[in-house]
Symmetry: C2
Subunit: 228 residues, 2 copies
């Protein structure tokens, strides 16, 4: 009954909690009071046993014979994820991707308000995007301090990413989300996640190829070895 104490939530479970959170939010909007693991699983695209196991790591928040109270479970998931408060983010790089992220409603609505935009192009500094003034890279430290920024988002080309990561760490952010296709190194204690948009396409490409293989389709590009 008490919230789990020793606790360690497996990584695989942590990665699914945001999905449950989103689905529960939709259920809440539709006015659902409770949901069974079966239904939550269906809506989330996973196995029902997995849902129950995942939720059991948070504590014992279901009611046997009934299901889970939507409001209550949503609160507990938000709590586990640390989303009962807002975490302002700074986006570094106001190119196409940076602008898309700044406009992306999903950030603010899910607890990550875009507090600041930063770019090193003098032509952009001082202009506004969606009501946020673009600041210079040299102001990063002040921006992070003044706006209480916890998370830095890197939305610039790979070549400058490590330098920006270093600046973000110096400026005091504790977490970095990197969209540049390059492996970054950060000090211990700084959380780092990497998203590579093209990687997803490459994985798709692999699966596409193998689905076709199974069906006996011929893939001419797959044959022939080059030199050596």
């Amino acid at each position: 009954m008490a919230p789990p104490s020793g606790r360690t939530i497996p990584d695989a479970t942590v990665a699914r909690l945001p999905i449950y959170q989103r689905v529960l939010g939709e259920l809440q909007d539709r006015g659902a009071a409770t949901v069974s693991s079966e239904d939550l699983a269906e809506l989330s695209g996973v196995n029902a046993a997995k849902v129950r196991k995942d939720l059991s790591f948070l504590g014992s928040y279901g009611i046997r014979g009934v299901g889970y109270e939507v409001d209550y479970l949503l609160f507990q998931i938000r709590n586990a994820l640390g989303l009962t408060q807002q975490w302002p983010v700074v986006i570094v790089g106001v190119g196409n991707l940076g602008r898309a992220l700044a406009d992306y409603a999903g950030f603010t609505s899910r607890g990550f308000p875009v507090a600041a935009l930063v770019d090193d192009d003098p032509a952009k500094v001082g202009t506004e995007h969606v009501g946020i003034v673009i600041r210079a890279l040299s102001e990063l430290r002040d921006v992070v301090r003044d706006l209480d920024v916890a998370i830095g988002v890197i939305a610039i080309p790979a070549s400058g990413a490590q330098r920006v990561a270093d600046l973000l760490v110096e400026a005091g952010v504790s977490s970095i989300l990197n969209f540049a296709p390059t492996v970054l190194s950060v000090p211990d204690g700084v959380n780092l996640r990497q998203v590579d948009l093209a990687v997803e396409l490459q994985i798709l490409s692999f699966h596409r190829r193998h689905r076709n293989r199974e069906r006996g389709a011929v893939d001419p590009a797959a044959e022939s070895n080059p030199r050596r």
Copy 2:
């Protein structure tokens, strides 16, 4: 010596092949002829034993005492991923995210040229973005047929995503990359991958919270239970 025949490459390995590919590409640009599993691991941010195991699923392409020939290994990885040919993509939704994706150099340079842009806003249809004319949603089938499109990218809000997915499937694409934060259902035989930009922030938030916990920091937001 012969390319592996029975083959099944584990999912975890498939997910890392694009990383090795990118790192090998950088090594190639720098003129490196060979690379050891130790160095490739370091540059990719993984364990050296894992690199060797991953690569062994593709075949036996290393040279003991020497390492891996960069060019040859790169070819074999591209081959395994099905990237020895180009896979044109169509991007549905020319909002901020769609435009960012269309401009993203990483797509074209890694074998996924943006063949077409599609939007259902009449004001956008017929205009150009980065040299590509924006077509109407109703033309999707023609676009896919005429431009030999294999992959559809969904870059619209969640509410319309399932309908667009259905249209893409009808139009004949075999793979879908979905950026809308909603679970899609597609027929068997269609490959689907989901990217949720906010999910990454939420996972970061969790890890941030627990790093702090370990250090004995107090998190006021974590306490107190709501009603019930």
